[in-house]
């Protein structure tokens, strides 16, 4: 793909978030940087408080000292977080905020709290059972606590005006990203999956206004590129952190072209905007965003009886014309393990070929994956009509 200055800057932020944070601090002296854990923390509230909210990424370094604090059967992302905590690699955050009740994420966060005595770690637990009649009130209450915590951290009030501006900034950025994803699903092959991942991963790090400007610049003048006849695949899963770029590259190298996804560092992040209407209450809108986003793209970490990841996936495959699904499951990710049989059943019933690839934080056996991916591609090719 392209190598524009704007794209280079986005890619740089995605791949070295600490350097971006350092630069941001130089440009914004005295303003705090807050690490937030994926996938549901309302960053708008932190931005409105004048801080930079960074979704803490897996920094893709091998887990060393962190092994002393979490067992090896925790997912790679949380073991990496523990390693970041153990080696001072979370030191660029002035505070860490959590909203998601994942027992592995809490384990890693407790390590961060125990080892980083001067960095406050605040956990506000967003209700995960979203079908309950009391869920909306509980969500609103928790969003209020986040607002209070952001005010406490920055010693400044979070005004409704600042919230509206933050919502508008993130909405605009997500909407622009969504256009790219929608175009890909409709046939545009401009962006490789690794490039798209950089676009989203940088959005998780950067100030949204700055990101939006760079993204618009990176997109400007780039026309759609027609897909070739490789097998069209949908990538599914990989919650909380990004799959390795080399894995994405191998998938396309095997004769597949990625046409859509529901990855966290993909469509899952960009899928829904905060529904703030003209003159509306921004906190109410943020609460609605959380309450409704699971219906827009169901997540196995939430419990909602009428939101089905399996049927969403089948519909998404039909929308994009994908010919196969590759499940990217981080090893030890329990929510994904729970739902995987339901996904498999639904895709089988719909006659959609699929492949489960279990990813690990270290030592991805790419050649083994290549063989399996090639088999999936062959299987999908055989299903094409003879005249195609």
């Amino acid at each position: 793909m392209t190598s524009t200055t704007a794209m280079d800057r986005l890619r740089a932020a995605a791949r070295d978030h600490r350097a971006y944070v350092e630069q941001w601090r130089v440009r914004h002296p005295g303003r705090p940087v807050v690490g937030v854990t994926p996938m549901n923390f309302p960053r708008e509230i932190v931005l409105a408080a004048g801080a930079l909210p960074v979704v803490i990424p897996d920094d893709q370094r091998p887990v060393g000292e962190g092994r002393a604090y979490l067992p090896e059967f925790y997912c790679g992302f949380t073991r990496n977080l523990a390693d970041q905590a153990a080696t001072g690699r979370l030191g660029h955050y002035d505070a860490i905020l959590l909203a998601d009740h994942c027992i592995q994420l809490l384990g890693a966060s407790d390590v961060a709290r125990a080892l980083g005595a001067r960095t406050p770690v605040f956990f506000g637990m967003l209700i995960s059972s979203l079908s309950d009649s009391w869920a909306p009130a509980r969500i609103t209450e928790m969003m209020g606590q986040f607002r209070a915590e952001a005010e406490r951290l920055t010693s400044a009030p979070v005004t409704d005006g600042a919230l509206r501006a933050a919502i508008a900034a993130y909405n605009a950025d997500r909407a622009l990203l969504r256009q790219v994803f929608d175009a890909r699903a409709a046939g545009d092959a401009t962006w490789s999956p690794a490039d798209l991942q950089d676009l989203v991963a940088s959005a998780l790090i950067m100030d949204p206004v700055e990101h939006h400007a760079l993204l618009a610049e990176a997109l400007a003048g780039i026309g759609p590129a027609a897909r070739d006849d490789r097998v069209r695949v949908h990538l599914s899963g990989h919650l909380c952190h990004a799959p390795r770029r080399e894995l994405l590259e191998v998938i396309e190298d095997c004769g597949a072209v990625v046409v859509d996804d529901d990855l966290w560092t993909g469509r899952r992040y960009v899928q829904s905007n905060v529904p703030l209407e003209e003159g509306g209450d921004p906190m109410e809108a943020i609460a609605r965003w959380y309450a409704e986003r699971n219906t827009r793209l169901p997540c196995p970490t939430r419990v909602q009886h009428d939101a089905d990841w399996d049927s969403w996936l089948v519909d998404a495959v039909r929308r994009s014309g994908a010919e196969a699904v590759v499940h990217l499951m981080p090893k030890f990710c329990e929510p994904h393990m729970f739902l995987y049989p339901e996904l498999r059943k639904a895709l089988d019933a719909a006659g959609i070929p699929q492949l489960l690839v279990e990813t690990e934080h270290e030592g991805i056996p790419l050649e083994s994956f290549r063989t399996r991916l090639e088999a999936l591609v062959e299987r999908a090719l055989r299903r094409r009509p003879a005249y195609a």
Partner: protein
């Protein structure tokens, strides 16, 4: 080859056989509940059984059923059925076993679909579990619990009603947050209590009659008394040598966790306490020639209960306390107001030993290590239970730094025997006991803690 035997130095409480029969009777009763016209609820997490008892239901605690299968070494067919359905072996083995039971139960109502699990197995084992009329999830601490029941709901085709009780994790954000204290504790207690009121409405809708609050009070009165006797018995085990061990209390988990609140339950725990008192009076210990007092952190390795009891006793090691015993199962009975028990029940659900941040767990662990005069800690690194294992390394460090207590880790699992590593436990246990001996000889055991070791924690 000639088999060699060593004398069993464990001296288990005789009364637990009575408990075992009570549990067996309970399950037999559940298996015929459908024929007797009772509605059946499947639930997970905190002990909601008094509410189900008051509502006239039959109840199946999912973890308990998985644990029972594992304890009887009968978990295999359910786990195979789960694997065939698509559940990964790294998934919580309680849930994997229970979901396998759900698959088998469903298959038991239709033509067999599985090529793995034979008809004989299904008839004898997991498929005896009657299908649920509805689910209730009451899982605190571990996020897996709520997802587990949601998936059960989906396995049954979303045709079975489900009710979720959501529990705030007691993280301890505020300076006033502590064990049983602080604004976080108070607000969480009220929040869960309010959900129990909603649950009562759900139960009324399911059974078609008003909820019997008097029956709930009655059941909770028995349970409170049983819990008091249990605590008194636990306190008696602070004596040296200990008259009973962690393994005896493990055998008492099922009765306190899900048997009906009634006089038989009180009588059972009175019997437990009496036997312990009798042992104290006559100088009988839970382990012959007790030399070491250990703390066990981790959820139980159910398929190794008797085996581990004998193994530790063989080394003269009395396991005298553990997070799964001292800090679980109606462990704070003073919180229960039997005339209006909902708040105290809600608080006990919140007091699940996996529902605390590390600061509180550290307080509880070190408190118990001091009170029971513990020499070392054994961490059961429970392979598929991320909830119990998450804080263990921080706890090991705190015990070493603050009490000078060494610890070991061994790998096993709640309900999947394949994860148990015999040689690792053997070698690490021997190493720790030798280290304790050497420290005693030097006179620096349990002092400053400098140089104390954590064996096998990496």
């Amino acid at each position: 080859m000639t088999a060699t035997t060593t004398a069993d130095r464990s001296n288990r409480l005789a009364i637990t056989r009575v408990g075992g029969q009570m549990i067996a009777d309970y399950w037999e009763d559940l298996f015929v509940a459908r024929e007797q016209g009772r509605k059946i609820v499947w639930y997970n997490g905190g002990a909601l059984n008094p509410m189900f008892q008051a509502a006239g239901l039959a109840w199946c605690h999912g973890e308990a059923f998985a644990a029972r299968l594992a304890a009887q070494h009968l978990e295999g067919p359910a786990q195979l059925a789960g694997a065939e359905y698509g559940y990964n072996a790294e998934l919580c083995s309680y849930s994997r076993t229970h979901l396998g039971c759900a698959v088998l139960t469903l298959q038991g109502t239709k033509e067999p679909e599985s090529g793995v699990v034979g008809l004989h197995d299904r008839a004898d084992l997991a498929s005896r579990l009657p299908a649920p009329d509805f689910f209730v999830n009451n899982y605190a601490g571990c996020s897996t619990g709520q997802q587990w029941d949601e998936v059960s709901f989906r396995v049954f085709g979303k045709q079975v009603p489900i009710f979720n009780v959501s529990h705030p994790f007691l993280w301890g954000n505020k300076p006033d947050a502590g064990y049983l204290s602080g604004e976080e504790w108070e607000s969480a207690s009220k929040y869960v209590r309010d959900q129990l009121v909603e649950l009562i409405g759900f139960l009324e809708a399911q059974v078609g009659r008003p909820f019997d609050y008097d029956r709930l009070s009655e059941s909770m009165t028995y349970i409170k008394r049983a819990a008091e006797l249990r605590r008194e018995g636990l306190d008696l085990c602070k004596a040296t040598p200990a008259p009973a061990t962690f393994w005896d209390w493990i055998a008492c988990v099922a009765p306190i966790n899900f048997l009906p609140g009634n006089q038989a339950l009180v009588d059972y725990f009175q019997g437990v306490k009496d036997e312990i008192q009798d042992r104290l009076a006559t100088g009988v210990s839970g382990v012959q020639d007790e030399r070491y007092r250990l703390y066990f952190d981790g959820i139980m390795n159910w398929n190794k209960l008797g085996f581990l009891a004998r193994k530790f006793a063989d080394h003269g090691a009395a396991v005298v306390a553990g997070r799964y015993i001292q800090n679980a199962f109606w462990q704070e009975p003073q919180l229960i107001d039997t005339s209006d028990p909902l708040l105290g029940m809600a608080q006990h659900y919140l007091l699940c030993p996996t529902n605390h941040g590390n600061k509180t767990l550290e307080y509880l662990t070190l408190r118990d290590c001091r009170e029971y005069d513990v020499d070392g800690i054994v961490f059961h690194s429970t392979r598929t239970c991320r909830a119990f294992t998450g804080p263990q390394r921080l706890l090991a460090k705190a015990a070493r730094d603050q009490l000078g207590i060494p610890s070991i880790f061994f790998e096993g699992d709640v309900a999947d025997a394949s994860f148990y590593k015999e040689e690792i436990l053997d070698s690490r246990l021997v190493a720790m006991l030798e280290a304790i001996d050497i420290a005693r000889e030097r006179g620096d055991h349990k002092l400053a803690g400098a140089g104390a070791t954590v064996v096998g924690s990496s």
